[in-house]
Each structure stands twice: as structure tokens, then as C-alpha cells.
């Protein structure tokens, strides 16, 4: 929100700075100007860099301190400052830093965060700077940080995240469904959901979330044209999905509070057995065991519902700031933290999956040991091999809200599904052109 190129205003700011310096003792720790480094990563790996992660400190402090130590030992003369930001407000934080030229050298991002940064010329093109590392990663993962309409790849793939769908076997049985044959496709899901709500007289909902862009993707709706210039989820297939959801909503097979649900609130609903199915991760099993023993006895685990045969996954990436003064060290560190060995050791700490070639064949992801955790992990690792990040890279936070609100209107009956999706697509297209 600024006009720094305006010389008059800069001068005024400088005068203000001088005035303040007189009034207050300064302990400024300003970083250098915007003058950038180079895209050449072949020089000597040295100097001080800053690495920013996204809400990982609370649980993985010692892991990251170990990674930083290892890097500094491997490359004497380097120093890595690790900073972690809270989950909430991460996009605000990055955009303020990006706008002001204070983005750290190496930044943990997701594809939708990379896209605007790359367009603004702030993300280093790794095809050019680090193309030699491409073969170390799963091809799909490497591509996930490419942006339609732009050449290049703008972040190293880091960890992948996917999870199974949990379901409540008792509720399935009560409704006369075969608890050992949970639905696999959307049609099966809709049938089961309608039966569940009918048998329970509307007391038991099957789903607690309204359809998101990933649901449209898994349903087989084409989301965007190839060039990345316009959205297409208002086609017949998209309308069909939304109509079906409307039917579920009216039959109370989709929870009445779904329109305003958060991941926490849906998790609680599943925990209290008010909802029959909920997506989750391997971490959740321990929680069920502790907090809801009766649910845990009846827990069923099944792959995500999909019509395309491919699950959805989320991809995390690590990008390098083009303005870094230490390009070689920044690229080296971004690679170091995402290489096979480190991804593997990180995966063993938490239920995520490495994006490096061959890592998923590790016995850790293939060999049963009889525990629930392992069972979930192996199933998920298998699906992650073919999984897709359905969310288009260009689908911004504002567009997600557009879709969410349009879906909400359709479910409430304020707009027809066709109308609602047309509006959503129009608004998203407009946002796309303006971005």
C-alpha cells in the first residue's frame, strides 16, 4: 500500500525518521535495501541466511535446530537463522514482507502462495538455478510449483500431506449399511448419506463440510483451462455435484452447520458421533483413542472419495527469494532441507510424506507392524504416489471465499446451483485477471 518510488514522500519519510531518531533511542535492526542478489547459484556457499517456516516450531523445534546445525557444519562460513511464524495470518505476514522487501531468503510456501510471489519476480526460478536437483523429486511434486502461463519452477517440493477418510461403523450399521464396505465414489457416498439420514430421521449427517475446490476436482470437474486464463468448474459436471450436495443438505445428510464449519468444528462433530464421516490424518487415531473411546471402537478407515481414482494431496514447498544476497547458500539450504534424507527423518516425526524419489518405498511406508498408525500410514503412502494437488495454483484465498459463499447460497436455496457457480466463476475470473 505504498508509493515509495515517489521521491517527495520518501524524502518526507526520511525527515520523519530523522525527527524520530532525535526523540527516541533506536535499536534498529534494519535489513539491507531491496538491491537483489543474482540468480546464479553456482558460487561459494557462504554467508548468513534466514529460513522461515510455517507453524512448525511448537512441535518440531529440535528437528529444525538439528537441520540448521547440520547445514552449518557441512558448509563452514554459513549461518542460518530459523524463524517460524504462527499458522494464522501467515499470508498477511508474507505479503507485508514481500511488499516491503523484507522477505526472508528461504521461505516455506504452498503453491498458492508461490504464484503471486513468482509473478512479482520474488521467487527464484529453480529450473534455471537448481535444475540439476529435479530428478531427486517425484515428477508430480516438482511440477506442483509451476505456474500456468509462466515458464519455470518456483519452489522445491517439500512434504506432502494426504489423509484417509474416517467413518463411524456403528452409525453405518444402525442405518443398515455394510460397515465393511464404505463408499468409494461420490455416487456411493451420496446413496449412503441419504440412507443414513433417512434411517436416523435426519439425526445423523454423513458429511460436515460443504464441497471445496478439491471435491470438485475429485468429482472429475474440469477446474481450469490449460492456459490458466479462466475457470471452468461451472460446467455440467460441477452443477451436477452441487445439485447433489443440495439434495443432501435438504435431507440433512449434510450437517446443518456445514455452511459455517471449520476443521475444528467438524472434527468435534465426528468425535461426538454426530457426523458419520470426516477426513483426517494418522494423528487423529491417537486422539480418538484418548478422547472418544466409544468412537475408537467403531472407527473405520477408508481412502478418500474420488471419481478419478486419484486422491487429493497438499504440497508444501520451499522457495528462494530472488532478492537474497546469498543465492548459492540459499539454494543449497533449500535443497538441503528438502533432500531425501531430511524429508525421511522429518516424515518419521510426523504424519507427512516425503516428495523425494524412492522415499515412499522405504519399509517405513510399506511394512505393516500391526499398529493402527502404521496401517493408516501405509495406506496413505500408497495413495500419495498417484495423488494430485487438485487446487489450482492460481486459486487464491479470495477465490476460495467466492466459491465457498456461492456454494453456500446454492445450498440455502438463495440461488440455483447453475447461477451460483456461474457467479463464482465470473468473480474468480475477474480476480484472476486482476492478480
Amino acid at each position: 500500500m505504498r508509493i515509495s518510488r515517489h521521491p517527495r514522500i520518501s524524502r518526507r519519510a526520511a525527515a520523519a525518521a530523522a525527527a524520530i531518531a532525535v526523540l527516541l533511542p533506536l535499536s534498529a535492526c534494519g535489513e539491507g535495501g531491496d538491491g537483489g542478489g543474482s540468480t546464479d547459484a553456482s558460487g561459494k556457499i557462504e554467508g548468513e541466511i534466514t529460513f522461515q517456516t510455517w507453524n512448525l516450531k511448537a512441535n518440531f523445534k529440535s528437528y529444525f535446530e538439528g537441520v540448521v546445525d547440520g547445514f552449518e557444519k557441512k558448509y563452514p562460513g554459513t549461518k542460518v537463522n530459523w524463524v517460524d511464524q504462527p499458522g494464522e495470518g501467515y499470508a498477511d505476514k508474507i505479503s507485508a514482507d514481500a511488499a516491503a522487501g523484507t522477505l526472508p531468503d528461504v521461505v516455506n510456501v504452498s503453491p498458492d502462495l508461490v504464484a503471486p510471489l513468482a509473478k512479482a519476480g520474488l521467487a527464484l526460478d529453480l529450473d534455471k538455478a537448481a535444475g540439476k536437483y529435479e530428478k531427486e523429486y517425484l515428477p508430480g511434486a516438482w511440477k506442483s510449483h509451476q505456474i500456468p502461463g509462466m515458464e519455470g519452477t518456483y519452489a522445491f517440493p517439500w512434504y506432502l500431506n494426504t489423509g484417509p477418510l474416517f467413518y463411524n461403523k456403528r452409525l453405518f450399521k444402525d442405518a443398515g449399511l455394510d460397515a465393511d464396505k464404505p463408499p468409494k465414489t461420490y455416487d456411493e457416498l451420496f446413496d449412503a448419506a441419504l440412507q443414513l439420514s433417512k434411517k436416523s430421521k435426519g439425526k445423523t449427517a454423513t458429511l460436515a463440510n460443504i464441497p471445496t475446490i478439491e471435491d470438485f476436482g475429485r468429482y472429475g470437474v474440469p477446474l481450469m483451462d490449460k492456459e490458466g486464463t479462466k475457470f471452468t468448474f461451472n460446467g455440467p459436471k460441477g452443477v451436477e455435484l452441487l445439485k447433489k450436495y443440495k439434495e443432501l443438505y435438504d435431507a440433512k445428510a449434510l450437517d446443518g452447520q456445514a455452511l459455517n464449519a471449520t476443521p475444528e468444528s467438524t472434527g468435534k462433530k465426528f468425535l461426538t458421533e454426530a457426523v458419520a464421516m470426516n477426513p483426517g490424518s494418522a494423528l487423529d487415531l491417537g486422539k480418538f483413542k484418548k478422547e472418544a473411546p466409544s468412537l475408537y471402537k467403531n472407527i473405520g478407515i477408508t481412502p478418500q472419495i474420488t471419481n478419478t481414482g486419484k486422491d487429493n494431496m497438499y504440497v508444501m514447498g520451499v522457495m528462494v527469494n530472488t532478492r537474497t544476497k546469498q543465492t548459492p547458500a540459499a539454494v543449497a539450504f533449500a535443497h538441503y532441507v528438502t533432500d531425501a534424507a531430511h524429508q525421511m527423518s522429518f516424515a518419521k516425526k510426523v504424519a507427512i510424506f516425503p516428495s523425494t524419489e524412492g522415499s515412499l518405498d522405504d519399509p517405513y511406508f510399506t511394512k505393516e507392524d500391526g499398529t493402527d498408525d502404521t496401517r493408516v500410514r501405509i495406506a496413505a503412502a500408497k495413495s500419495v504416489k498417484t495423488a494430485v494437488n487438485y487446487t489450482p495454483v492460481l486459486f487464491s484465498e479470495q477465490m476460495k471465499i467466492e466459491l465457498r459463499n456461492s456454494v453456500g447460497k446454492a445450498l440455502q436455496g438463495k440461488e440455483s446451483p447453475e447461477e451460483a457457480l456461474d457467479n463464482a466463476v465470473n468473480n474468480c475470473d475477474r480476480l484472476l485477471q486482476q492478480s
Binding site: 502462495l113 455452511l259 479470495q398
Partner: protein, 316 residues
Amino acid sequence: MKSSSAVTAPRTAATASRAVTDGPRKRIRRQLPSSPWLFAAPGLLIVGIFILYPFVSTLINSFTDKRTLIPGEFVGLDNFRELLHDDMFWIGLRNSTLYILGVVPALVLLPLLLAMLVQKHIPGITFFRSAFYTPVVASIVVVGLIWVWMLDERGLVNAVLEAVGVGSVGFLSDQWLLLLSAMTVTVWKGLGYYMIIYLAALANVPRELHEAAAVDGAGAVRRFLTVTVPAVRSTMVLVAALSSVAAFKVFSEVYLMAGPNGGPAGEDTTLVMLVQRVGTGLTGRVGYASAISVVVFVVTVALMLLVLRADRKEDA
């Protein structure tokens, strides 16, 4: 600070502006010529650099199509024209206006009754006064978390409602109940603040008026209407001004309870929430968000002037 608590830490313009006219007496006037500005300088500097200068750049931005990472070009009144056709803007305007209608009458009346309750000096009254002020002291984020937990489907309020047989109410899922819940929180948090203002005003009501009315045989209700209300009327105007300006700028309560999305289908979005949603993030439309900010600013100034005018008539 940038406390986003809207109604509860009101920006008291009215408190100050009245006395602009009855300036200092002339006898205190010969002093070091530089000293007045020296006294005011730190305040003017801070407010100028960190509030007004950013606001002026916001004003300039509202005529551009600037985005977070892309410098904008001058687009004239395009942003304001777009506002007229933006459904979300009208929803925001509706909700911010509804907020005034819902919150202001409650905040004008309830704290007055509360002030009358704690006015009498009975033992322990200082404790009650302090206790009633506690919600004002607590941060809005904490207050939000507390009430989300209270009004949760399985929170305290619903547990009580279920225990007495009413059944669970979806305070946090229905669009209107959500707005109502947020208003309740705003009122709850603001009661103590305005109670104090009324308490100060009640101390100024001459007791003879009450006695005369009592002699006339007026009942409590009648005395309230014929003695108390007229005596504190100008304070009621002040409270109405403060609370309506704050209500129009409401952000935190609704954001915390309805979520960043603004409730079901975004129907609970307020104008300031829209500013935040449209203008922040890496793909934020800074220019357009600035235009909404400008509208909020203009309406707030208008509200202020309106009330000040009513107040001036009162004094006359």
C-alpha cells in the same frame, strides 16, 4: 494501540470537540513562543507519521488498481463504481448498519440501568463496580475465544439449554443468530465502559429533583422517565455517538465468531471485514480495499457530525 476492539474502546471524539469553543482565558497567553508546539510535537508527529500519513496513502490508493505486489495505475472512480455493483459491499453495509441498530439502543439503555444499580453506596459496591468493568479490560481476542467456547454447540450455554429441555441452539451456525451473538458480545463487553460514563453523569443530577418528584408521588418508573432521563440526556447522546461509530467499524467480534469467511455464504460480513478480506494477502486488491476504507471513514465522520449537531442543539 491498534486494539481492534471496536465498541469497547471507543474513540471519543465527542468528548473533546465540545470544548473547542471555550478556549483558554486570555490572561495566560504570554509564554515562550515555541513551547506550545514543543508540547504538542511528539503527539502530532506520531499520529501524523503512523496514522494520518498511511491513511493519506490509502486515500490515494483508492483511486488506483494497486495490488499487494503490483504497483497500481490511476483508475479514477472505477473502484467506487465497482462498489455499487458488488453484492458483498451491500451485505457489508447492511450488516454494519444492522449492528448500529442492534447495539446502540442496548448500549444507551442497559448501562444507564446498571449505573443506577451500582450508584447507591451499599457495602461491597466498589467490588461490584470493578467486577462489572472486567470485560472491558479483557482483550477482544480473549473475549472472542471465551464466547465461542460458551456458545459452542456443546458449550456451556447449550448444555444449560439442553438441561432445562429447550434443546441445542445453533448460535454459531445460523446467519442471524451469529450476528445477534456477536452483538451480544459487543454489548457485554461495552456495558462496563458506558456504565462508568453514566455513573459520572448521575452524580450530577441534583437530588432536589428526585425529592420533588417523590413528594409528588411519582413512582420509580415515572421518576426515571421524568427526572433521570432528562438529566442525563446529553450523556445518552454522547454514548449513542461513541457506540454507533464503533459499531459501524465492528470487526473483531464478528470475525472471531463467524470466521474469516463471514458466516454462512458470507452473509455476516461487515464492511471492515471486507476491507481486510479484499485487501490483504498476496493477491490483495489494495486499491479496491482502500476505496471501502474511504467509505467507512466518510460514514463515520458523518455519524460523528450528526451526533455532534444533535448535541449542540441540546446545549442551546
